[in-house]
Amino acid sequence: MVSAIYILAVGLGAAFLIGLLRDEWRAGAYGVSLAALALMSLISASWVWVLASGDGRAVDILTAGTLPPYAINLRMGLAEAVLTLLINLTGLLSAVYLRDTLFKQGRRALATLLVFTMASCGIVLTRDLFNLFVFFELVAIATGGLVLLSRDQRALAAGFKYLVASQVITVLLLVGIIFAYHATGTLNIDGMAVLSELVIKGGGLAFFLMFIAILLDLKPFPANGWALDIYESAHPAFSAMLSAASASAALFAADKLLLIGGSTWLPVATGIGIFGFVGANLFALAQTNDRRLLGYSSVAQVGLVLAVLGQRDLLGDRYLFIAGGILLAHAVAKAGLYWLSGLVEGRKLTAWSALQGHPLLIFAFASFIALLVGLPPFPGFYAKWELVIALGGEGRLALLGLILFGALLEAGYLFRWFGQALKRERSLEPVAASSFKRAVILSAVAAGWGLGFIWGALSPNGNLLLALPLLFALAFLALEPLSVRIKNSVAIVGMVAWFLLTLPSYDPLQLIFAAVMLLGGALILLASYQTQGQRIGFYPSAMLMYAGLAMLIVAEDAFSFFAAWESLTIGSYFLILRGQRSEPHALSYMVFSLGGAFLILAGFALAAGGDPLFTLAGLAKVAAPIAPWVFLLLAIGFMTKTAAVGLHIWLPGAHAEAETDVSPMVSGILLKAGLFGLFVLLMAMGSQQLYGVELTHLLLWIGALSALIGNLMAAFQEDAKRLLAYSSIGQMGYALFGLAMMNHLGWLMALMFVINHFIYKSMLFLSVGGVAKRTGTRDMYRMGGLITLMPLSFIAVLIGIIAMSGVPPLSGFGGRWIFYNAILTAEYRLPMILIFISGPIAFLYLFRLIHTIFLGQLKDEHRRVKEAPFWLVLPQMIFVAFLLVFALVPGLALRRVDAYISQFHPEGALGWEGLTITSDFGYWSPISIMIVVGVIFASLFAWLVFVNRKAQKVKQFNIVFAGERPFRPETTHFAWNFFAPYRKALGFMTEPLVERFWAAIVDLLHASADLLRRLYTGNGQTYAIQLLAFVVVVYLLRTGL
């Protein structure tokens, strides 16, 4: 085994060697540097390998051959090995990335880079305080030098500000060190830790000075203006090193110091950390410069890790796993993003739209953002899970809440950025073509995924990257170059195969959801055959969503449930983002979904009591004082997905702007995930009371209000897809209402809605999508009279709206019938009024949908419109057939579920004898209804044909028009503002209060971020004063505590 000291020796030696070379031998100097960095990486890697495989133990390297305190010692443990590997690799890759710049700058720059890397490693390795100081100073000096690599003139000022700050830190650190030494008589960290009692007693202030100095090296919020300026102006490769390598090293140093400080100093670390995490993320909201934004994000992430370090008392030996997961994810992602920013010419966030057309880079971008936010399957996800579960178990709820809030802010600005990059008009400046740089970035991507795998393997919860559905989804990344037809076929076959494979393991409830999500998904995918080309990005996203759904259904423990939930959220986000003008809607979807997901996470954390392997079944055993809170958190989380009123504002835009075949996926299928969650929740926890309020009653009201508001809003939409989207809110409201009734038939009705809503909403979205595709507009008033040109689409819509409105003889009536039977046994009646009124309102928008599109007057420009493409029509026709069959024999799907629900609600089961379905109150015979209606209809139709066989077919202007004639189709088609009188009567209920509420919150956050960030005046002296003020404030707070 090569001694770890060679890491330092090689770095330093190479730096000196380069100093000896002649200026002209640039390639030689560069080669030496690379070799040195590679060698350093290799040494670290070998240590990682040995220590991780369990063969070796942490080794102390004694310089000068004596034990401390008489000499400086270095330590190489697993954490050190990993961190030095990270630092060296970052250095190596940055050096590769910087090739051109370094060639230009020459050997001095190379030497500085080597010193920087070496010194960062030194910070990690050393166990001596003063040595630590030396390495910190080396890093500072090297930073001062490397900042100048940038072409940006402003970097000069930034570097100086940095030096000013580091001078102040030096003073603090040195004074601290000397007094600590004075108190303990040793400079060895471990030695001091043993004597920590002394430090606390005699040298409290000394330790504080040391500790705060190290913390200041972490660039803590808000005393960090100098660091942000560097991030903004330095060369991105250097920023990558600063953010990934030096921040990691400094964190490790802080960790070491905490050994001395002991548990009393942990809250300080946590406090500063979480303050920085939330504050920096808040400030980042107002940023428009990409690198500065990344700087804020770095500050925030470092704060988070610091907070985790401060929770060491709680996390025990898992803290390395957690802090390491977050730290490595941050380092890889941040380095990757900085490197990526070097490819982009402009510095505005929107300039990243230059990445469009580079799928690999987009993939890298997406991976980095997922790494940062901590989405599965990346390390941050596992880490966050354990962290949050541990915090929840210990009752550190404020911290938990702040962490989740900060993470939500971070996700907000990162995904906003991603959306802007993907959807804004493509920047004209090209992406730098350097293949070196790309290779570096891609190696970061690989590292990220690799870390994901490792963390999965280390996690007690099982490795997500070994889950078959997820792998299947990821496989589509490799299949991207193939054409749509092949990929689509693979996707369909895969989904059906997975369904068949897992079929035996489903209980009836799961079976229904699985059938809807997997088979239904496959059916909708038929529509995707109509697209051409490769459709880059569609299949990985879609399959990620389906993988999440597939895993959600079978999830048994909270972790896999949550992981599946996150997966489907990400997948659907990418899917929604693909729409033409979907950028803001995809963002609001993502923010709401993640907000909901975090609530679910918090709920699980509360419920789990610290057990990361908590099972869903365990929800039933959660005890009284926290149970209702768990219920509330989980329910709200799930309701963000079902878009219950108040949390619904993301849905209309997201569903409406999505692509033609995506809308049915996200509406017909995705919403059901929320229902499934609610099912799971209610099955496990039943109903709960909070301050005497029955929470299911609350859900009843929310469901009823959603039904009313959704339907009402739908009636006033001009855009066909928005109409359908609002209608989904209403339909989900019904389903929620059914669930919340907590009786047998209520649940059955909810399930019926799951099936029905999937069928008719998918069908309608496909049909309307086809029409929109053919007519080039989604505004219904621009259409009209398409019935003869698009008869099949018309039939689909017709059947769909009959089914949806609940008019017999189609299947929607079954839902209504079960609903009426269910409410007869419900205890709580008032919200029913809202449901009763929202029923007829559904007629308003349904009629509007079919009338203004297919009936009325055909427009000039649509006279030659053709029927929708075959592949769009085919699934519609299958849905039509299925609706008819389901209308005739609902028992096929419902009977077993009915029996299954009896486990939970034994009373009120339906009778299924013969053709008639009976309840405790009434009966219903679908086949008889169909026959009676059919016979009457057929006889009357025959009679009309007999008496009216000679009817003259006339055209659209052959209408009586008060003696006049129509002017043009546009002026004759009554379609715009269709329900004007209704708006007059009830329009006050459509005031966008909820939207205003959320907009006010967002505005408030942005405004405060924009106002507060003026704290960073740009003046180096002000920064130094802030730094000192920070120290004083922390000290005062600390002593005041």
């Binding site: 007519t775 649509h862 006339v954 055209k955 003696g963 006049e964 004639r965 043009r968």
Partner: protein
């Protein structure tokens, strides 16, 4: 020709230009045909009786005579008891009362409305103006003979005729219908060209198809 009826080129959503010819594309161009009576005489008799007893007047007051129809709805005359009622749409009416003078401008609307009524349909000319122009015999803008333009079943003279006269006229019309002679619609179809020529002679800006279905 009015601008909105002229041929125009429009661009479809797929970007292909094509021509729209409103008169051909928006209107049915089929000419009216003579509609045969029911196969059986008995049934036709029944129908004629029903038609006579169920006169639905198109509520289109073309001239000052319209004011004389209002009393028919009042308790004093109560035409409803004779099976007469007013309908708001030509599709559901079978009796067109031309109430008084008919300007050329109104004539165009009358022709449209008349043609939109289903066969069989009846026309009653009310007042002298419909017969020979009445006091507007020398007007530059009022037609003098209604039967030049539409087949008229009954004329009721007077300026204005009293409601009683109208009722008497309707009774006369009923007799005609019951006798199977109320075939104005078929006459119109038979002599379509003649009627059209007359109509087009006075209506100079003919901005509609030849037959308004």
């Amino acid at each position: 020709m009015k601008q909105e009826l002229e041929k125009r080129w429009v661009k479809g959503p797929d970007g292909v230009d094509f021509e729209v010819e409103p008169l051909r594309d928006y209107y049915c161009e089929a000419p009216p045909t003579v509609m045969p009576a029911a196969y059986s005489k008995i049934i036709e008799g029944l129908f004629n009786w029903a038609r006579a007893e169920s006169l639905w007047i198109l509520g289109f007051g073309t001239g000052c005579g319209a004011i004389e129809m209002r009393p028919l709805m009042t308790p004093r005359f109560d035409a409803y008891r004779y099976g007469i009622q007013w309908r708001p749409t030509p599709r559901q009416s079978n009796l067109f009362v031309i109430s008084g003078y008919l300007s050329v401008k109104t004539l165009k609307r009358v022709i449209r409305s008349y043609e939109q009524m289903p066969n069989p349909k009846y026309v009653v000319g009310l007042g002298s103006c419909t017969i020979n122009g009445g006091m507007y015999f020398d007007s530059y803008n009022t037609i003098t003979r209604l039967d030049e333009y539409l087949p008229v079943d009954v004329y009721i003279t007077g300026c204005m005729p009293r409601p009683e006269a109208l009722l008497a006229g309707f009774e006369e019309l009923k007799r005609i219908i019951r006798a199977g002679k109320g075939e104005g619609a078929n006459q119109y179809a038979e002599r379509f060209d003649w009627y059209k020529a007359n109509q087009k002679r006075v209506i100079h800006d003919w901005d509609m198809p030849d037959y308004n279905w």
